[in-house]
Amino acid sequence: MTDLVWLIPVFPLIGFLINGLFTRKLPEKAIGWIGSLSVGASFVVAVLIFLEVLGMEPGSRSVQKIVYTWILSGDLSVPIGFLIDPLSLVMMLVVSGVGFIIHVYSIGYMHGETGFRRYFAYLNLFVFNMLILVSANNFLLLFVGWEGVGLCSYLLIGYYYEKKSAADAGKKAFVVNRVGDFGFLVGMFLIFITFGTFDFTQVFSEATAKLTQGGLMVTGITLLLFLGATGKSAQIPLYTWLPDAMEGPTPVSALIHAATMVTAGVYMVARCSVLFAMAPVSMTTVAVIGGATAFYAATIGMTQFDIKRVLAYSTISQLGYMFMACGVGAFASGIFHLMTHAFFKALLFMAAGSVMHAMAGELDMRKMGNLRHKLPQTHWTYLFGTLAIAGIFPFAGFFSKDEILFYSFERHMGFWILGALAAIMTSYYMFRSVFMTFYGKSRVEADVAHHLHESPPIMTVPLMILAGLSLVGGLVGIPIIQGWHVFGDFLSPVFAPATAILTSNAHGAAHHSLALELILMGMSLAIAVGGLLFARYMYIVDPAAPDRVISRIPEIHQLVYNKYWVDQLYDILFVNSIVKFSRFLWKAFDDAVVDGIVNGLARLTRGFGGVLRQLQSGLVKDYALSIMVGVVVIIGYLVLR
């Protein structure tokens, strides 16, 4: 079965080609199912391979399959090849599984859109690239998927390209991502001059031999790679594109900007765990950036009224958690959270989409309220998602988040504080969105109110499946009890080398203390419930409270509400100044200096010719005079010599 791994990305590619080229005449349903089933087929293959790998010895669960040599030039040889190991399998399962569910949901959500076929073609193309990204066996092929998902993200954000804001957002996403890609690219060059190959297995196995621990090279490589990750996974300082990306259709936000593409950075860091583990500076950077982003994005999330923006900032914040986990050395926990987050965040986005569907595209939570009776299934599923992300026992988010907080505490108290503060804010703004949307008084406008309706089963069934996963998805990682952390055990061979490096550096790291773990767990739970109660007080018990708070601290609220003015700052610093400088170069250098010289030379030649022309006057007396002068000069020269 592992020989057929290439089928996993190829199925969606076929779906893309069919929908892109041939299905012009087919009805929506057919197009939608072609798109969905192509991803479903990938999922089936991934499951079969997963089962086969489960049957192997844990130590030998790493298989490479080379399809053909892609680029061969001098000492560079890059294959199109796949790496099957626990990490890539988890990613393949999540991408194709959640992707399939979102595809099916899209059939209902995108019903009646003029670009239906284009939408499914792009979506399939995205899944193809994403699967390439997670299954590649070398850096360059990973980069192919990396850029490919960026392209699809660009195309799908700009799906409603007639809207300027959508087209702008797409372009912004692509360009900001390219800033990160630049770092990735340079990181790859350093890897190549060090190792002479891009092959993962080879690079990671030779890392300890060819690089010095904590040396400049390994630090440089990992920081550059991480720059790439901050672009793709929307971390400080390159996060600004993700909130704008909400211009795309909501299932796109669910698939690309929550469940899969934005986690590519986390995957990549986890994939390079050996390199990162060798560079303490980089590890600290990853943890600090992750923790800071988790905190920072959560503050903004508390103030937004657009339900998708709330979810977007929450995504940035949760991605920050994953990076923090990687940065403190808990790579498996980062991937664990990546998976549970894929379940509940995709669910939240799609439930929000279901709300939008019912409310004719309305996103402003101030115009919602008390929707739980009209949209019962949407309400329940959204609530499940919220319970999961807030970290309420026994939902999936509880296990993964608690684990990250625990390892953060072990590494440094500061990380735990950042994470805990972010957690309480997360719980607060998520329940705030629940209460504003589904509870309290209805603020729905009259003409929208009588159209309110629950979404069709093709949308609600996917919601229920994900709600189920949000509930039980965390059970693969039960803490404390030895041997019950199935997920961590499965991944551990991948991260074993990195863990070995980290523990040897830590000189007898802190041992798991059961009491500490239980205390921290209790605190996690208390934090989650605290956020819930606070939100309930603000939006149910005393609905006037939020305005009172805002009027108390208007400046701070404005600052946070306007996202700390970072977008505007970037515009002034980078966008405007470069455009202005380019205009200057064009007008002042190209036109004035270079062409000034060129045209000046031409004018000079012509002018000089004009002067010479005076000599050829055609008058005999002038010529006679010049002969005279010539004779005098020559004679003078001969005489005086």
Binding site: I71, S73, G148, L151, E162, F174, F182, V186
Partner: protein, 530 residues
């Protein structure tokens, strides 16, 4: 290197000229007939040129399909043609674009059709001739032959407002460089002839002559100027935006796709191997100019208001990559450089065709006159998007392979240059996508854009072959990398070997310079007498 039985290269080079001759005798009013004749001959030329590929031996670096005939015996001028892995794909690119260019101009050119086609056909011969000449004199003849039809294409069929300015600027710029090159060619001819007593313009023989370092400097400078203008390298690029903007669509296509490659090809075939010491000493500076060109071209492209000018400036940026890779003198750099020559020909050629298609419909190229075209012309939108992506180097398409190899190859030698050049990928995305957005996205605000017809079959046919190769090179570049590898490796080895040889020679000279100072004077005096 024996003469092959079938003179492929002569056929490939001169089939277009034969067509031009035939056209002379046809009625100037039967436009369709003229076009069909030109198209059929261009197609035939392409088919014959495929023979080059299928008979090409990928395992050797030697010149293949060589034809060698004495032309002017007394001056050592021969009619010598040949291809190797470096020139093979440039020839194929040229012959492939031949029929495309005729097809693309089918509806566009309505006045002086006969002259127009003759110009294109003669130009084709000139371009192929440059790529296959192995004799400096012959090369120079082809080099100058190209100039005239291109001058006419811009000056006669260009944009009435500024076509004369653009045409004259193009010619003067080029001639300044090529005259200096002629001087250098003659200097080399006499110098090498005097040293070996057999005067020849045969390139392969001149390769073996070690030019003294002081002379290399001046000769390289002359060649550099000629080629750098043609490439064009910063800061010799200002003829390009004018020429591109004012030229008719197919003029721009040929100019971008093939003519600019004359410069880069000139470096790799002539300037570097003939004067390796000077070239390697200058490499740091050449790469500096290349990197400046990459960033500068991208930035200035970003603020253009005319689509064609924007694509023209993007060429400055892309050709900067080509030069950077070449002067890195690593296998990846040089291979990337050659691949990137092909890529630029494909994607920028296609972009000019695309711009031409929309210009035919709207008679404007200003970005602000468009908007929302995707809605009106969906098929056009898809093709435009693909070529845009190819141009900004998206993996899976051709541009990425070239840029990546160049950057990797350059990184080994000049890491900082490569890093700065790599930041060019950010700006490439900015200027192309921004332009694309303003032209294609948004609502249709200008009523003139509402009724635009989507692409017809002829237009799709024009773009389809280019599209195929963009994907091919992106997905399976080895088809192209493999045949060029021996030649590229040989190029690097030859350059290094010759450089070392010259250095040794200089050392010897220095050691014995004390005794023979007087003798050197007399001998050089004798040389000049000849």
């Amino acid at each position: 290197m024996e003469n092959v039985s079938f003179p492929y290269l002569s056929y490939v080079t001169f089939i277009p000229s034969v067509a031009a001759l035939i056209l002379l005798f046809l009625n100037r009013k039967s436009h369709e007939l003229l076009r069909w004749v030109a198209l059929i001959f261009m197609l035939a030329d392409f088919v014959v040129s495929l023979g080059l590929y299928f008979n090409f031996d990928s395992s050797t670096a030697a010149m293949q399909m060589v034809e060698d005939h004495t032309w002017v015996r007394d001056w050592g001028i021969s009619y010598k043609l040949g291809v190797d892995g470096i020139s093979l794909f440039l020839v194929l690119l040229t012959t492939m674009l031949g029929p495309i260019v005729i097809l693309a101009s089918w509806k566009d050119i309505k006045v002086r059709v006969k002259e127009f086609l003759i110009c294109l056909l003669v130009l084709q011969t000139g371009m192929i001739g440059v790529f296959v000449s192995l004799d400096l004199f012959l090369f120079y003849v082809f080099w100058e032959i190209m100039l005239i039809p291109m001058y006419l294409l811009i000056g006669v069929w260009g944009n009435p407002a500024r076509r004369l300015y653009a045409a004259i600027k193009f010619v003067l710029y080029t001639i300044v460089g090529s005259l200096l090159m002629l001087v250098a060619i003659l200097a080399l001819y006499f110098m090498a002839g005097a040293a070996s007593d057999s005067y020849t313009f045969d390139l392969l023989k001149l390769y073996e002559f070690p030019v003294p370092i002081y002379a290399q400097f001046w000769m390289f400078l002359a060649f550099f100027l000629a080629f750098a203008i043609k490439v064009p390298m910063f800061p010799f690029h200002t003829w390009l935006p004018d020429a591109h903007t004012e030229a008719p669509t197919v003029g721009s296509v040929v100019l971008a796709a093939v003519l600019l490659k004359m410069g880069t090809y000139g470096f790799i075939r002539f300037a570097i191997p003939l004067f390796p010491n000077a070239a390697m000493d200058a490499a740091w500076w050449v790469c500096l100019l290349a990197v400046i060109g990459i960033i500068y071209g991208a930035w200035v492209a970003m603020v253009q208001t005319d689509v064609k000018r924007l694509v023209a400036f993007s060429s400055v940026s892309h050709l900067g990559f080509v030069m950077l890779g070449m002067f890195a003198f690593t296998v990846q750099g040089v291979q990337g450089s050659i691949i990137q020559m092909i890529n630029h020909g494909l994607s920028t050629g296609a972009l000019f065709l695309i711009v031409g298609m929309i210009y035919e419909r709207r008679h404007t190229r200003l970005i602000e006159d468009f908007g929302g075209i995707s809605k009106v012309m969906p098929l056009f939108a898809v093709l435009f998007m693909v070529f845009t992506l190819s141009s900004i180097g998206l993996p899976g398409l051709n541009g990425f392979v070239g840029e990546f190899l160049i950057l990797l190859g350059a990184f080994k030698v000049y890491p900082w240059y490569a890093v700065i050049a790599a930041s060019g990928v950010i700006f490439a995305a900015v200027y192309m996508l921004w332009m694309f957005q303003r032209v294609m996205f948004g609502e249709v605000t200008n009523p003139k854009n509402k009724g635009l017809k989507d692409l017809g079959a002829r237009e799709v046919l024009v773009l389809a072959p280019i599209l195929v190769f963009c994907v091919w090179i992106g997905v399976y570049p080895n088809t192209f990398l493999k045949p060029m590898e021996p030649s590229v490796k040989n190029f690097i080895q030859m350059v290094e070997k010759k450089r070392a040889a010259v250095l040794d020679l200089e050392k010897e000279k220095k050691q014995s310079s004390g005794e023979t100072a007087g003798m050197k004077l007399t001998s050089s005096g004798r040389h000049t007498e000849r």
